[in-house]
């Protein structure tokens, strides 16, 4: 079937139709959750949510609300499909990833519905690229059921304080241990690697701390390999909220400001590590 070089106009019956003047608004967010090849896209009138999961223990979501797009329409209540995220990112960045000022890649995204591929029309400097990516059956996603009433401890930190710490985490450690407490050490990240243990302490009165609501002392361990990809989201965010519930499930929410100053969110949910042994202090 010959691909028409003319991008379609809205009005034709697409299950999902979106257009975006700067494709980077989408690609940078998707990169922050790209730790697996496949992702599930879920679109409603409110916007687009892209979910990536691994090992039934970790889930990352990127939210791009409808207001970010220049045009955004969803025909039914919601549209869901599974897609190869690596391919999607390659297409979105097909004109290159360097962010030179003035060179914007415009995007038009169309999805006719179940069984149809996702069509992308990308344009930069008069050159148009058309991409057609096959979609798949959406898979069942984990529901971490993290609502504000179940949160035991919550901290909001400025991302700049955590960025280097996460980038330099001792990867010879299998776990990242997170301690949150109303008493000292307040907020502590610990690793237990080949060289020995390392602890990173953030006092509650640090000027990096935007909010500190800890009711109970909690120490939880998470597999470091699962959390390491969240460093990508941390790198582009300005603030991060760290929350744990009674079972030790972790929620990391990153507030990201894009080039036009608009706010988007990425969140990571993680299960605590099952083999809990006495923490080495």
């Amino acid at each position: 079937m010959p691909l028409s070089a003319q991008p379609p106009v809205s009005g034709e019956s697409y299950a999902l139709f979106a257009s975006l003047d700067n494709a980077r608004h989408l690609s940078s967010l998707l990169r922050a959750v790209h730790f697996q090849d496949h992702a599930t896209c879920f679109a409603t009138a409110n916007g687009l949510r892209v979910t990536v999961e691994d090992a039934k223990c970790i889930q990352a979501n990127a939210f791009i609300q409808a207001e970010i797009f220049q045009e955004f329409s969803v025909q039914e209540q919601s549209v869901t499909f599974r897609i190869n995220l690596s391919v999607l990112l390659d297409c979105l960045t097909i004109f290159g990833t360097s962010s030179l000022p003035g060179t914007l890649t415009a995007l038009r995204m169309c999805y006719r519905g179940y069984g149809y591929p996702l069509m992308l029309f990308l344009e930069e400097g008069g050159v148009v690229t058309v991409c057609k990516i096959n979609t798949q059956e959406p898979e069942e996603l984990l529901d971490f059921d993290f609502c504000s009433t179940k949160v035991v401890n919550k901290i909001i930190l400025q991302s700049e304080g955590l960025r280097e710490a996460f980038a330099e985490l001792d990867m010879t450690s299998e776990v990242l241990q997170i301690t949150m407490s109303p008493d000292k050490p307040y907020f502590r990240l610990s690793t237990f690697g080949n060289a020995g243990s390392a602890h990173l302490d953030y006092p509650r009165d640090s000027d990096l701390m935007e909010a500190f609501h800890c009711n109970q002392t909690q120490t939880n361990r998470y597999k470091i390999s699962l959390l390491k990809p969240s460093t990508k989201a941390l790198a582009i965010s300005c603030k991060v909220s760290i929350r744990t519930d009674a079972q030790g499930f972790l929620s990391l929410q990153y507030m990201i400001r894009n080039e036009d100053g608009q706010i988007c969110f990425v969140e990571y949910y993680c299960c605590p590590d099952e083999d809990i042994t006495e923490a080495e202090l």
């Binding site: 304080g161 280097e164 710490a165 330099e168 001792d170 080949n194 060289a195 020995g196 243990s197 390392a198 602890h199 990173l200 302490d201 953030y202 006092p203 009165d205 640090s206 000027d207 990096l208």
Partner: protein, 356 residues
């Protein structure tokens, strides 16, 4: 220190904190002694029990992984070892009240000390690190050993060391001469030279350059270690390297000819050429190739040298490799390498003074 060995030895003493390393073949030893004044607070322990430990270099360096970010964010570093503790504690106090605590595993160890004495060295040189760094830059990164020597005309030479077995056609020899006035101190035995490993020396040189300290070199005869020192009010650094020894005990250079090796380029061209030619003929070397710096004009034995060509005019003959015979003249009586590794034969460079 990480250029020398894989383990870092720590020893707090009354005179400061000593950090040392030795390489696996025990042919290189370095120590950095930080005087108490270097620290904001220095408590070596009460009663001053002599405590020593060693940690993996990699683990220790891991704490100070990113230098630029360290400079920006870290205010204070605390190193703490409690009695009966199982971990060495390094705590970095950073911006925004953040504290990074590293608990490193360590091993008890014996005292690491190389046996050396700068006063027993016959020759001493002192130069700003920059001068030596600029000189060393001319040698390839892969070069293992270099020879430092005192030449005629009060010049100091640096030359890459080539093994005897190496193919003369594939060998490139680089020789660099430094005038006496580049050095702050020159007190060398004439004609002396030593050969040592360049890799460990480069490590010290980059530290010296960064800290802008003059480097002092103490050396003696081939075989005895060469000692490099850096001195500051709060820091004392020693690097001791083994040197290649000369099995022929007469490291006396024949003075009759004035030279037994390629003379240094000097302003007095004719004199040097004269002595150069005398040296060649006395040793009976025939078929001498034109040296890259000395065009040959005087008549010589009839045997033609294949490399000589028709070069009669003055000027350098570029890229002519030394003829094999000439080369053995050059190397024969002066330096006979014992082997590839510069491990000292009889001398134990680093002795465990608490021999258990």
């Amino acid at each position: 220190l990480s250029r020398i060995g894989d383990e870092l030895y720590l020893e707090p003493t009354e005179s400061g904190l000593s950090l040392r390393a030795v390489n696996s073949s025990r042919s290189a030893f370095a120590s950095f002694l930080f005087a108490p004044l270097f620290f904001q607070l220095y408590e070596p322990g009460n009663p001053p029990q002599s405590f020593r430990c060693k940690v993996l270099m990699k683990s220790f360096l891991g704490v100070f992984r990113s230098l630029p970010s360290l400079e920006r964010t870290v205010g204070k570093c605390l190193i703490l070892l409690k009695p009966r503790a199982t971990r060495l504690v390094l705590q970095l106090h950073c911006k925004h009240g953040v504290t990074k605590t590293h608990n490193l595993a360590f091993q008890d160890c014996e005292r690491l000390q190389a046996v050396f004495d700068t006063r027993s060295c016959a020759s001493t040189l002192c130069a700003p690190a920059r001068v030596l760094a600029e000189a060393v830059v001319h040698f390839p990164q892969t070069l293992a050993e270099v020879t430092l020597g005192a030449g005629p005309g009060d010049k100091i030479s640096l030359r890459n060391y080539v093994e005897d077995e190496a193919e003369p056609r594939k060998t490139m020899v680089t020789e660099l001469w430094l005038a006496e006035d580049e050095f702050q101190t020159v007190a060398v035995a004439p004609g002396s030279r030593v050969t040592f490993c360049l890799k460990e020396f480069r490590g010290l040189l980059s530290f010296a350059e960064a800290s802008n300290l003059p480097l002092t070199i103490h050396y003696d005869v081939p075989g005895r270690p060469v000692i490099f020192t850096l001195d500051d009010t709060v820091l004392e650094v020693h690097l001791v390297l083994a040197t290649l020894s000369d099995p022929e005990s007469n490291s006396q250079l024949p003075t009759a000819n004035g030279v037994s090796h390629l003379p240094a380029p000097s302003n007095d061209f004719a004199d040097d050429l004269e002595s150069y030619m005398v040296a060649i003929e006395t040793e009976g070397g025939s078929g001498v190739p034109p040296s890259p710096t000395f065009p040959l004009r005087t008549p010589r034995p009839a045997e033609s040298d294949p490399e000589e060509g028709e070069e009669e005019e003055e000027g350098a003959v570029p890229g002519t490799p030394p003829h094999k015979k000439f080369r053995s003249l050059f190397f024969g009586s002066v330096l006979t390498p014992e082997g590839l590794s510069p491990a000292p034969t009889q001398e134990v460079l680093a002795e465990d003074s608490d021999g258990d």
